[in-house]
């Protein structure tokens, strides 16, 4: 028998509220399957289970708030457990006893599983509150997903916007969580900062050339080249892909870049693109688009919030030329990219206009030094000059 625990989905998460179960006692569960929705300060998260078997008993009911690590249910496993107890996700402060990583999808997550309604957690919760049965609703979201607007239309002729859930409360809680993490980071992590300017002419030309022959659904954004270059560069400076466990850095075997996504009502999430270094640009691009869509809809999964090994943030779309970010503990580095601007550039003794971009590294000086950070940024630059190799 194994326990399905309340996961930790961030360094400062201490408790979560069980919002809904997708399974009932007696149902089969498969490793990686989403079995519950949990409300945190980062919004409602779909929580995956990391063991296969049969859900034996539910211990926490919807609406209950319990501390991280509290057993939510028991699972009768199909096979002998590989670890003494199986948790829904790893504890973020240490990875010494981390459970097996979730199975990584080879492509964009599949559409509706048999018998599972395609509805965002926020819409599901709203349907419960408004007494609307979501089964049979016509979904207007991506892939036919039922959105909160669909639920509202079904409930009554209410205005489509703004929405009923206390968004201001959620934003306030999220900001409080972010504030705690950032204060802790500044207090505990001796940051050092590096920046470099990268000539983006070749990667931009390569991307434009690729997109000329691609349909819309297959087009690349240059930002996916940045993510892949960072991931590959981390292979050469693995000390930047680590967590601080309170006493020392623990290097992580896998590279899961947390891609910072701002939430328009306030707040920020940085869900993981799993195994960023191993994925092709095409797969990464589809995963990135899916991740942004689900972050906007409040449909992120627990492993996406708990698994990032480093954070990459870009304010290029907002016109910011450079940023020096605050490391998200227990990570030990953060990479920032600015907007692309045209600047005078020296090429073979001649001054020519070039489209350039600032790349920055915020590093934890307990773990790495400026020299290693500089090698990392140089490698990112080198990789971007060979975009066909990404």
């Amino acid at each position: 028998m194994a326990d399905f625990l309340m996961p930790t989905l961030g360094a400062d998460m201490t408790a979560g509220t069980l919002v809904a179960w997708h399974k009932k006692p007696g149902d089969a569960v498969r490793r990686g399957e989403i079995v519950a929705d949990v409300e945190t300060d980062k919004g409602t998260i779909e929580v995956e289970i990391f063991t296969s078997g049969v859900l034996e008993k539910i211990l926490v009911q919807p609406g209950e708030t319990v501390p991280v690590g509290t057993p939510l249910a028991t699972v009768r496993e199909e096979a002998p457990a590989a670890t003494p107890s199986v948790t829904a996700t790893k504890v973020s402060k240490t990875v010494a006893a981390a459970p097996p990583a979730p199975a990584f999808p080879a492509s964009v997550p599949a559409a509706v599983e048999a018998g599972r309604l395609r509805i965002s957690p926020a819409a599901r919760e709203l349907a419960r509150k408004l007494g609307v049965d979501p089964i049979g609703l016509q979904g207007s979201g991506r892939g036919g997903a039922i959105t909160r607007e669909d639920v509202e239309r079904a409930a009554q002729p209410a205005p489509s916007r703004p929405l009923a859930p206390p968004a201001e409360d959620r934003v306030a809680r999220m900001r409080k969580t972010i504030a705690a993490a950032m204060v802790r980071s500044k207090r505990e992590i001796p940051h050092y900062y590096l920046h470099t300017t990268i000539d983006m002419s070749r990667p931009l030309a390569w991307t434009a050339g690729q997109n000329q022959h691609r349909p819309l659904t297959d087009r690349l954004l240059y930002s996916v080249l940045l993510l892949k270059a960072v991931a590959l560069a981390l292979r050469k400076t693995p000390e930047l892909n680590a967590v601080w466990n309170g006493e020392r850095a623990q290097l992580l075997p896998d590279i899961h870049i947390g891609m910072a996504i701002s939430l328009r009502q306030g707040g920020l999430v940085a869900p993981a693109l799993h195994h960023t270094d191993r994925q092709s640009l095409d797969v990464l691009m589809k995963s990135m688009r899916d991740l942004v869509d689900r972050a906007r809809a409040g449909s992120l999964r627990s492993s996406e919030l708990s698994d990032p090994t480093i954070t990459v943030t870009s304010l290029g779309d907002q016109g910011v030329e450079g940023l020096f970010g605050i490391i998200n503990p227990p990570q030990v580095a953060l990479v920032g990219f600015g907007t692309i601007v045209q600047r005078p550039w020296v090429v073979e003794g001649q001054i020519v206009p070039r489209r350039v971009m600032t790349a920055t590294l915020s590093g934890d000086h307990r773990v790495s030094d400026g020299h290693r950070g500089a090698l990392f940024l140089a490698e990112v630059d080198r990789l971007l000059q060979e975009p066909e190799s990404l």
């Binding site: 959105t147 607007e149 703004p162 349909p215 819309l216 954004l221 701002s262 688009r289 942004v292 869509d293």
Partner: protein, 82 residues
């Protein structure tokens, strides 16, 4: 398809990208990316959604034509006629 029909479609897909926004206040002559705080991924997802519904492939060099609501309606309207 009338311009109003097209407007409804475009606003619906913009709403999917920015569900919290009040689209009744969207200025049609100003960049909706700025008004709705859409990033490049949101914009691409918006174009893909339009492509799925209208069957219009937008080349990259035409992206600047679709930064405002009026621009979208003008561009898509012409493409639909063709």
């Amino acid at each position: 398809m009338t311009r109003d029909d097209l407007r409804t479609i475009v606003l619906r897909h913009l709403g999917d990208r920015a569900p919290e926004a009040d689209l009744t206040r969207l200025r049609p002559d100003r960049s909706f990316r700025d008004q709705l705080d859409l990033d490049s991924v949101d914009f691409l997802n918006f174009l893909i959604a339009l492509n799925k519904e209208l069957g219009i492939e937008v080349p990259e060099q035409d992206y600047p034509h679709l930064v405002t609501l009026n621009g979208c309606l003008d561009y898509l309207g012409k493409r639909l006629v063709k």
